[in-house]
Symmetry: C2
Subunit: 263 residues, 2 copies
């Protein structure tokens, strides 16, 4: 068996000897995009059992079966970092879900604020983007994507032990890097970004009264919502998350020359 052709997320349990199926879209990808044949090596993960080497056993129109062989990486979780964001227009929200996944965000929480321009969110689409990004970036978990909820409801039910860093464009908030660098304690957090119109004064006033909220700055420029979210995630990961961890060994790499995985 040669190098691993691709990585796929599956729902099913993974164990040596198991035979698992993939969904219609993944089967199409294997057959019509990658044009794989029986015997191709594919890496599988399900968010629970680590990463497994599997062999493409059967392949047809809309279906594929994979024989699970051996585990090539133990399960690892992404840092406990959430992103709370006001939905933005389609191309940018797709991009945001992809990038937040690459940046190791564990949960995406769309929130409806007063100046949020979008009135609905395609949660299934965001989940598909997150899954595909997880497959690409070699995560072993896929971020949760919550249904959208109003800001007031989100704040009411917020877990008090989780610091919420609210990115505010204006005023004298301290830089996120400084705030996070100074903090100790458990490495759990959430960053929140508002819509293009920013937060309403009343929303800022409400959040200012909450013990778990810290307003933070991302520097002197006025960032778009998607840029602000990615910047905040990148800074938190660098200072407090897994920014200092190393990539997986090339054994599970894609698109590069790799050691032969046959036993």
């Amino acid at each position: 068996m040669g190098k691993i052709a691709t990585r796929l997320y599956v729902e099913e349990d993974l164990a040596a000897g198991a035979v698992v199926g993939v969904d219609h879209q993944q089967a199409h990808y294997l057959r019509s995009v990658l044009r794989l044949a029986r015997g191709a090596a594919i890496a599988l993960f399900n968010g629970r059992d680590g990463e497994w080497l599997a062999e493409l056993e059967g392949l047809g129109k809309g279906w594929a079966s994979l024989a699970v062989q051996r585990r090539i990486r133990p399960q690892s979780e992404s840092p406990d970092l959430w992103l709370v964001f006001a939905p933005i227009k389609r191309a940018r929200i797709d991009f945001l879900a992809e990038k937040a996944t690459e940046l190791g965000c564990r949960r995406l929480l769309p929130v409806m604020t007063r100046f949020t321009a979008m009135d609905r969110v395609n949660v299934e689409r965001l989940r598909a983007n997150a899954r595909e990004a997880a497959e690409q970036c070699e995560r072993l978990d896929v971020p949760l994507v919550d249904p959208p909820q109003p800001l007031a409801k989100l704040l009411e039910s917020w877990p008090a032990e989780r610091p919420l860093f609210v990115c505010s464009e204006r005023g004298a908030a301290p830089p996120l890097g400084e705030v996070v660098g100074a903090s100790s304690g458990p490495s759990i957090a959430a960053v929140m970004t508002g819509p293009e119109g920013g937060f309403a004064e009343s929303e800022l006033a409400t959040m200012a009264r909450l013990p778990f909220v810290t307003f933070v700055s991302l520097g002197p420029r006025i960032l778009r919502s998607d840029t602000a979210a990615l910047t905040a995630l990148a800074i938190w990961q660098s200072v407090h998350g897994d920014g200092s961890a190393r990539p997986p060994s090339p054994a599970s790499a894609q698109g590069e020359s790799q050691p032969d995985l046959a036993d």
Copy 2:
């Protein structure tokens, strides 16, 4: 005069009493997108003279003239941070130019590497994206965009005093945040990201011999080229750049309620 309707970059010198024109695209934007009328307040910057308050004096099909009134911000330069990147496909490169500008990058240098899939770069298009992003994010300068050049040529003519942080997906490179945090000396730097296929072994070997090159890691996940570039820029700005500086006063803000600027 009410709040500032928009910000525009112009080539001409800015001084009290000057009357400046804008280009065809900007005139169309003022007239047909923003539907502004004579007397509208517009902020102007040229990368040299700071930000100026101007009044829309005349407006027609493809032209507009603006009466420059008074300076509302002194000139400031973005940190001396460059981005060297292997060109990626169109939607992502547009996005990269926009985000790099928002993240305060001073110069964009497309570089052709062995595994770069794109054989040409629309430099004018990148410049337009950078200008528009600078107008939006309230920068007072617009990043330079170089024509693409081969990696070998770039390295030959590299200014030795500028550290070049090369983002490498694999191996034991130290995290960018640690490397940058530990460094002192002048705050000038460049970050470099490779194409989706990564750098060739020969390219890595060549760069490893150069005194100004430091290989850095961006964490355990395999990031897309555009994500890697933005993550590196965000981390450098947070640690060593202007990440701790504050946004401009709301006087020059867009899209929010602002103090009336009339004298």
